[in-house]
Symmetry: C2
Subunit: 240 residues, 2 copies
Amino acid sequence: QLAELLVEHFQTTGSTPAKPLTGLKFVITAGPTREAIDPVRYISNHSSGKMGYALAAAAAKLGAEVTLISGPVQLTTPTGVSRIDVASAIEMQQAALTAAQTHDIFIGCAAVADYRMAEVAPQKLKKTADNDVLTLQLVKNPDIIASIAALTSHRPYTVGFAAETEQVAQYAQQKLLNKNLDLICANDVSVAGQGFNSEQNALTVYGPQFEQALPLQDKNTLAQALITLIVEQYQNEKKH
Amino acid sequence: QLAELLVEHFQTTGSTPAKPLTGLKFVITAGPTREAIDPVRYISNHSSGKMGYALAAAAAKLGAEVTLISGPVQLTTPTGVSRIDVASAIEMQQAALTAAQTHDIFIGCAAVADYRMAEVAPQKLKKTADNDVLTLQLVKNPDIIASIAALTSHRPYTVGFAAETEQVAQYAQQKLLNKNLDLICANDVSVAGQGFNSEQNALTVYGPQFEQALPLQDKNTLAQALITLIVEQYQNEKKH
């Protein structure tokens, strides 16, 4: 069984590790997006990109072909991974829709900004004595993972993430259904020491008839467990 | 003359360089600030912190005592520099006002956010199907450099920066007067290859009766020239 092969792989310390995922193509999004307010200011979030980069590294190590679509992060591209750098959600969506056409599994691990400025100011917004308050008008960004899951041809197996601070299980399961995802990985970012900017993470993975908790552990170890779980579910799905 | 001593210092490659700024205390702010929207999102800007860090390194190398108040950046603390990490403008101001009391020269090189959220949401703001738009209400942040320059006791010699995209000289000179600064370093960030996130920079320094252009050069070399210029002007001022 594949899961056993993968477990075996990660325990192997030999010089010629097995490449059980050879031929399988992943596209993974990672990091935050940056939404410009004006030429110098932007809206972003605390995503470090570590989880997505760890997933890309784990999949590549197992022989998969990996395209990593990355927001602005301070991380080195993992060995054997093709990286595409983007800034805004719109740019990330364009890269994701293009890559999805030729990949088997899409993992949306990026913390995509839900909103962007209705209009980006072409010059730096000046602070004046008159305006003690400033109102920013934002509009909704495209929902990248939902647009991937809604593809009617060449739709990849689609795995999302949900970073929540409250009612984590409920919000994650709603997203799974509303966005027509195959799996969703729920992350409680209100707990100190896991999630954004942390070295460790804990996740609960939900499918339509599936639930599995992956306890708090180093993001690299968690990434190996998660890639194993995703590939197992992907292959179960393909059988039906 | 001090300027000559400084030039000589930077040309010296011997093992025991002169420390002409021994006894002089600098406080330098650097990097962007981050203003929280909710627990995961924030507003920030493209400042890399490189210019402020280069100034801190140059002053410390010359024997000055340097306190560096830093927003979130990906940079190593220069040798011999005391670093205080902050996130928001409010935090930076508190650290700056405290440090100003015991320092001779204040250089405000940080790209402080002009505005912060009127109220920070305690939980992650949820995107719902209903709200296609989102309005963020911002209020003005304290003007850190102006509050330093307005000190009536223990006021340090106060040097500001102005990053502008248009009418650079005019806006910089207005700031110099309005904020009661001793010097202002004007930076045209609309020009590619200088300023934010660049390795090089060009500045024009204005005082009430003073103007000097420092042409495009490596930020470390520019920092040495700027520290020399600031100390020269500071000592001229002290004579009167």
